[in-house]
Symmetry: D3
Subunit: 72 residues, 6 copies
Amino acid sequence: MPYIKIELTREGVTREQKQRLIKGVTDLMSDTLNKDPHLTHVVIQEIDLDDWGYAGEQVSVLREKGITADKK
Amino acid sequence: MPYIKIELTREGVTREQKQRLIKGVTDLMSDTLNKDPHLTHVVIQEIDLDDWGYAGEQVSVLREKGITADKK
Amino acid sequence: MPYIKIELTREGVTREQKQRLIKGVTDLMSDTLNKDPHLTHVVIQEIDLDDWGYAGEQVSVLREKGITADKK
Amino acid sequence: MPYIKIELTREGVTREQKQRLIKGVTDLMSDTLNKDPHLTHVVIQEIDLDDWGYAGEQVSVLREKGITADKK
Amino acid sequence: MPYIKIELTREGVTREQKQRLIKGVTDLMSDTLNKDPHLTHVVIQEIDLDDWGYAGEQVSVLREKGITADKK
Amino acid sequence: MPYIKIELTREGVTREQKQRLIKGVTDLMSDTLNKDPHLTHVVIQEIDLDDWGYAGEQVSVLREKGITADKK
């Protein structure tokens, strides 16, 4: 009975990317823990950039400064 | 001090249904655990169908296939 | 696809009371929204009294002062 | 590694107030627990008044009756 | 800035399996959304079987009846 | 009606520090948003080091390597 909540900043995640996240997490539960996918629920929640704080700053402010969450 | 979070797919839940959920959950806490309703908070969060995954698929895709969450 | 999280102070909730909460919430989703119980998951999380704050005080301190969450 | 979720009724919280919440919570983690702000994430979630229940009533109904959450 | 919460029934998940879940979810965020792993936090929460309800029953009761969450 | 959840790694947070967190967050809601403290609930959840992942690693592993969350 896994339930997985994914919280992300709202920055243009596509429907197809969401599908890949859902499929990927469900497969991970199945492959690692042998969980029946019919008992795995995944919820994605996008958060506006004004509503996510990191290092004491709104992400909207960080993005204005050119600071991204991209992998280096 | 109960706090209850209800996550649901966004599929036309009415204001009146939400009121019934809130009343029902609060009464359940009061009847089962003798909790003062003034200390019971209930939060309902509707989730877009692209953002809820079940059995590895987006619910939006399941609905397109005619698969519902209705009671049989 | 409802998922419901119930957070409660840890104050002697019995296994039988938990079963009543789970049954009650699942029935409420079924009666109010016609949701299939096989798609309804309920998670109960008990919180230690030092870890729940109300009105700026730990509930453990409130309980020492004789302040309860009981219905009047 | 603190993660903090703030859930609030959606009642005109400004961008500047959100920034104060984010800064305030991050500083609290740093001052009280010596946590590196680069490991502190804060997420604010505003909840519509129909979706928050208190004492068995929707907050939207309480507000119509003139009942606020303001400090006395 | 992803934050992922994984809720699971407490049924003997090993430390090594938890590490695989954490690695797998973090890689998924990196591969799908190009997210820097230093901004990805994953929290696993195991839930006692009395505290997880499915189809209106405690999972502890379902397990006594021989009903598992295993993949068929 | 604010509800605040604080998730922290379980690393010796004292009862007194928890009280400071609860008081600090409640005051912040009152000072910034004029919220009545009797409507503010704060829940602290400590997470075992094996259950928190950062940058793809369990925090327990990071701590063994001498990597802390301390402010520099």
